[in-house]
Amino acid sequence: MSEVINKATILDYIGSDIRSDATSVAIRAINMRGRDVIENVAFPTRKDEDWRFIDLKSITKNTFVSVEEANTAGHGDLSSHFLPEALNTRLVFVNGVFNKELSSISDLPNHVIVGNLSEYGEHDAVKEHLGTITNYEDDVFAPFNDAAFNDAAFIYLPEETSVEAPIHILNIFTDAEQAFYATPRLLFVGEMYSKATIIEEHIGLADNVYLNVPVTEFKLFAGAHVHHARIQRDSKKASHVSRPIAMLDRNAEYHSYTICLGAKLFRNEPRVIQNATEVDFTVDGLVLIDGDQIADTHSIMDHRFAHGNSHQLHKVVVNDKAHSIFNGKIFVAKDAQKIDSFQENRNLLLSEEGKVNTKPQLEIFADDVRCSHGATIGHLNDEEVFYLHSRGLTEQKSRELLVYAFALESVESMEVESVEKLLLNEVIKYTTRD
C-alpha cells in the first residue's frame, strides 16, 4: 500500500461526510474497513503504471456530495426500463438507494433470495462472502464503495436451484443540483449447481455530473452457471469506475458481457479468479464511444488451477475524439496446466482524432497451456464499403451497416431478447447519429 505523503486521496473530491450509520453489523464492518483504506491510499495519477493513459479530470475537477445533499430530481415513470422477461425478478436502486416500490421479486423459486442486502446482514452467505472477494491492490475505488455503501443487491441461490427468468438489477441515476457519488453494490452467491442470468444495468436519466462506483462480487460454488450482462448507460457527463469480480469453484461457468455506451469517463476492471480446476469463463466487452468519452478496461483473467477454458473478446468502436484503453491481463499460475485461454481486442476507429491504446499482457508460469491473444486497430475496410456501395447503398449507409455488423456479434451473446433488442437500438442510434 503506498503511503500518502502530501498526496490527494479520494476524499479530496468528496464533499460530504461518508455515512456510517448502517444498521447491519456486516455492512458496518466493511464500511469501516473501506474508510481506513481510503484515508491512507493515494488517489491514482498518471505516474501509476495502470493509470498512465487515462485522464481522470472528470473526477478530480469535481466535488461529489452524498445523494442526500445533492437535491436530486425525481425519476418519473421508469416502466420503459423494465425488462418484460424480468417483470417479477427486478431490483431497482435510485441513486444507489433501494426502491422497494419499483422492485418486484414475486417470481422466485423457494429459498432463492433477491433483495436489499441491508436486510440480510445476518445471512450466513453475507457474513461469509461480503467483501471477501474484492481484492484490488492499492485501489481506492473498491474501498470507497466499501466505505460508503449501505443498500445493495443480494442474490442468493441455494444448491441445485435454477432461476429461469433473468434477474434485473436496475441502477437509476437522476438529475441533481449538485454532483453526487453513488456506490451500487451487488453480492451474488450461487451454491453448488445453481444457475441464473443477471442483467446489471446503469442508466443515467439526465445529462448531469455524478460519480458511480459500483462493486459486484460473484461467488460461484462448484458447478454453478452464471450469465452476467452489464450495461452501462450512464449520463454522458458521469464518471463510472467499476469493480466486478468473480470467484469460481470447480466446474463453475461464468460468462460476463460488459456493454459500455454512456459516461464521460468509464474505467472497468473486471476480474475472474479460477479458484479450482475445470472452470469456464468469458470476459467479453463492447465499447461504443464518441464525443470526448473515455472508456478504459483493465481486466484480469486469473488462472490459479489446472484445466480451465477462458476467453475474452473486447470490441471497441471509437468516433470523434473519444479514447479507448484496453489492458487485458491473462495470468496462469505455475501449476495451472492445461489452461486454454484466448483474448482478442478489436478496435474500429471511425475518426482521425479518435485514440486507442491496447495492451495484451500474458503472464504464464505453467508450461503446458494454450494461451493466445491478438489486438487489431483499423478503420473500416474500403473494399467492404465499396462492395455495399456498389449494390446501391449510399456510402454513409454502407459505413453504418458495417459498424453495426462489427458490434452485432457482442450483442447477440445477450441471451435475453429484450436486452438484445435494446442494445441493437443503441447500436443503431450510435451508427446513425447526426
Binding site: Y387, H389, R391, G392, L393, L401, A405
Partner: protein
C-alpha cells in the same frame, strides 16, 4: 445501352495510365466477352464502369442509356441498373445476404419510384430467386460471403444479380477459381437472367466460360485498349494460338502500337 468513349483512367493519385482509350458499345439483349491477358486493364475497366473510387477517369466518358455517368457515385450507377459481379467478392461478417439485398433492393426501388417490398414480401421474392443458383434457404441468413468457398462466393454474386435485376451487368472473372460443377451452376444462372431487355459483359481470361455462356461479341483487350473485336470465333482463335501470337500478328498488321 452502354457507350464507352475513348476512356482513359489512372489509379487515383498516381499517373500510371491503365486504361488508354477504351471504346465499347453494348446494346440491350447482347452478351459481350472481354478477354485479355493479366494486366491488360480488363478488371480495371469493370471497376471504372461501376464507379470504384480507386480510379480516376482522365479522359473520355461513359454513357448509360444516353446519360453521362462518368462522374456518378457507385450507388447512383446501381440505381440506374448497373451491376458488377466482383472478381474477389469481399467477406462482410455480421451482415446477412438477406439484409444487404433487402436494403439494396429497396434503395434501388425508391430511387426509381417503384414500390418497396416489406420484409415478408421480400422474403417471398428472394426465396423465388434461390433456384437460379441452386442454393438452399439457409444461404439467405449467412453473413455475406463469410466462410464461403470460392464457388459459393461467385454463386452469391450471380444470386445478387438475379435479385437486383440490373439492366447491365459486368461479370469480372466470374469463372476464375470455379470447379466444373460450380461453373455449370453459375453459367446456367447467368443464362437464365439474360434476356432481351438486359445486357451482360463478361470479363474473362479463358475461353472455357464461353462454352457455357455464348457471347455475340468478343473483344480482345491488351495494354489498356480493346485491340480487336469479333464474334465467338475470335475466342476460339485465341484459345488455339494464345495472346502472344495474336499480339504479334496485330503489330505486324500495324493495328497496335
Amino acid at each position: 445501352m452502354l457507350e464507352i468513349k475513348n476512356l482513359h483512367a489512372v489509379v487515383e493519385g498516381e499517373d500510371i495510365e491503365i486504361l488508354k482509350g477504351v471504346n465499347l458499345k453494348v446494346n440491350a439483349g447482347e452478351i459481350h466477352a472481354i478477354m485479355g491477358p493479366n494486366g491488360s486493364g480488363k478488371s480495371t475497366l469493370s471497376k471504372v464502369v461501376s464507379g470504384h473510387p480507386e480510379y480516376e477517369i482522365t479522359e473520355g466518358e461513359i454513357l448509360f442509356n444516353g446519360e453521362n455517368i462518368t462522374e456518378m457515385d457507385a450507388d447512383e450507377r446501381a440505381h440506374l441498373g448497373l451491376f458488377m459481379a466482383f472478381q474477389y467478392p469481399v467477406e462482410v461478417p455480421g451482415i446477412t445476404n438477406k439484409t444487404l439485398l433487402r436494403e439494396a433492393y429497396n434503395t434501388i426501388a425508391r430511387a426509381n419510384d417503384r414500390e418497396e417490398l416489406d420484409p415478408l414480401e421480400f422474403e417471398d421474392y428472394i426465396e423465388s430467386k434461390l433456384d437460379v443458383i441452386d442454393m438452399k434457404h439457409e444461404f439467405l441468413s449467412r453473413s455475406i460471403n463469410t466462410g464461403f468457398s470460392g464457388g459459393e462466393k461467385k454463386k452469391n454474386e450471380i444470386f445478387q444479380m438475379a435479385v437486383l435485376n440490373p439492366k447491365l451487368s459486368f461479370l469480372d472473372e466470374t469463372d476464375s477459381g470455379l470447379d466444373i460443377d460450380a461453373l455449370k451452376v453459375v453459367s446456367d444462372g447467368v443464362n437464365r437472367i439474360a434476356n432481351e431487355e438486359n445486357a451482360i459483359v463478361m470479363i474473362t481470361h479463358y475461353q472455357r466460360l464461353l462454352n457455357y455462356i455464348e457471347p455475340q461479341f468478343v473483344h480482345i483487350m491488351m495494354d489498356g485498349k480493346i485491340i480487336k473485336s469479333g464474334d465467338i470465333s475470335l475466342a476460339e482463335e485465341l484459345e488455339a494460338n494464345g495472346y502472344e501470337t495474336l499480339q504479334k500478328e496485330l503489330s505486324l498488321n500495324g493495328e497496335a502500337q
